[in-house]
Symmetry: C2
Subunit: 398 residues, 2 copies
Amino acid sequence: MKATVESAGFKAAAAALDRDFERHIADTIRLTEIASPPFKEAARGQAYLELLKQHGLSDVEMDAEGNVMGLRRGTGGGPIIAIAAHLDTVFPEGTNVTVKRTGTRLAAPGVGDDSRSLAVLLALIRAMDAAKIRTKADILFVGDVGEEGPGDLRGMKFLFTKGKYKDRIAMFISADGTDAGSSIVNGAVGSKRYRVTFKGPGGHSYGDFGIVSPAFAMANAMKKFGALTVPASPKTTFSVGVVGGGTSVNSIPFETWMDIDMRSESRAELDRLDAAFKSLVAAAVAEENAARSTAKGKIVADVKITGDRPSGHTAASETIVQIASASVRSFGLTPSLTFSSTDSNIPISLGIPAITLDAGGASDRAHALDEWIDVEKTSSLRGMRIMLATLVTLAGMQ
Amino acid sequence: MKATVESAGFKAAAAALDRDFERHIADTIRLTEIASPPFKEAARGQAYLELLKQHGLSDVEMDAEGNVMGLRRGTGGGPIIAIAAHLDTVFPEGTNVTVKRTGTRLAAPGVGDDSRSLAVLLALIRAMDAAKIRTKADILFVGDVGEEGPGDLRGMKFLFTKGKYKDRIAMFISADGTDAGSSIVNGAVGSKRYRVTFKGPGGHSYGDFGIVSPAFAMANAMKKFGALTVPASPKTTFSVGVVGGGTSVNSIPFETWMDIDMRSESRAELDRLDAAFKSLVAAAVAEENAARSTAKGKIVADVKITGDRPSGHTAASETIVQIASASVRSFGLTPSLTFSSTDSNIPISLGIPAITLDAGGASDRAHALDEWIDVEKTSSLRGMRIMLATLVTLAGMQ
């Protein structure tokens, strides 16, 4: 790593990032202001595809899922190293995505999650080109869809299991977020999400009193769910996020539902929690059918999966973690290995070494309308250089 | 009663109801097709007020609550006998209230509950006029607001506790529904309804795992509520009608809520149930605050009353019940005394003898979009005549 960052090539690239910084800010603003709601990333995707072309990549394309990507060809023979930022935001159509700039602070929904990273990838390409850096491996630059909640990592699932580069990507970096630049996400917090709908005959609250109620069945399931015990480490969690159902105060509901979320750093713990959850739903249904009359019909539960993100772990001993750690240290920071739920969950779950890095700076309020980032130059350039050093080292800088 | 129904005057009125029957159907359709959602009864109220004027009543007016009414003056000295049908329906604005007529069957939201009764009152006035029937007591004809759920009997509450006839109405008949004509509702099922909102700090389902959750507090309250025991007689019931809350699957809700309904034929049982309910909500909140971390804030419950209808009973020995029973029998049917929640709840709770009668015919699907009535002439005329005989006997036919 010392050799890399002290090489003339890398120094030239690092200097280019500095000279080019205002353009990077302009790219960040421009991309942020193209709204990109879940499942509606096409406009931002098309704009990013044009930018990838303008940056001279080859094989620039949009795949069937909506990911856009292009190759920076290596000198040949090496595996593909992929680096991606996600196109989607959590914000619905109609959200005001105008960026408010105050000094080095940019405020707008999605500006840090993940528009700036999209702009960072472009800055890295320009810096490598300015410094005439060649790598052994091909580098695949990707703007991907579906990273946020409802997308359920659909972009990554397609890229790694169906797209034309599946089985050809040796290592993966997700560029996500604007933070100090020292975190290396090498653990994938897995999650399972369900919409559970309890259905029954329904009826009049007075006239039909005594029949089974989906509301009471659901309450029983929620109470059992809340009473589960999970380990603090590996961190494992559960939550009821949203509840609904029923038609009027004087009717026994024919349907109630709840959206639940379970997560774990450990696949085994997540599987154990998932099994306990399914079993308690069945028990709550059976108990309601035993506690009240089923003369007009029984309670049944429809358990529909709405999210499935695999858990996993890129070992700290893997090259990608070692190189990223060395890169962080070479810029005077202390690396911290952490768990999160990011695009890297998919390659990690497939056994492909993957990490998630941020690009320096500071930020807060991600997923809120008052989201902001601070692109103070020293910290931001440091983060971008850490990412560049990691990338070119993995790709075999020549 | 035998004297009444065999009198020349009553026979003339009964014959007038027959001759006038198609007009009664036309009135039913016309009134049904003026939408009258809860709290938005003004258009139908204004139309009914004009009809009361056209029917020659005196002192026709709309009171401050929106009830419309007029007097058919008696020969003097007697107390006021009031008869009312309600203007409001359960259906929201925008509901298609066009009546579909197929033979004697009329289908439309609200047609039987309670448009036809509004039309029945007009038919009774015309029949009495055609037969030149005079009564000793004044008869107050009322189209009232707020009978359905959210209205919480506001029309009756105003009429009997604030309006200009308060303390002057000696007996009350609610004309409600289209059924065989033999039921006499002399028992008032009381009810209490609440919107309970559980509030907490909220947070991220993974990052904030371990903090208190309004969803789990509510589940515990619902489970305790569902486990209460109530007597089969006097009939006492409880239900969770509607639930909601939460913002996204990956957030711990900052708020969840439930709409609950409790009813009883007995005021003492309803009070007992109400006390148990309030106590279990407090216990569920305390248990959630003890079970999980309150470092970011505690759970609190906001218990807001949304409905309060008093229980009570007009004794079977009361004149109004005796006369109505005799009237039913004189038309060859067997009276059945029943409990329900109707406009009569208010006078009954105030100690004013009151009953609820339907006007003959058949119906089903009240409160549903496919509500219908069958105004088959024999049964419908019989019901209307039972109601007329009851009314003129109570008012002292001369």
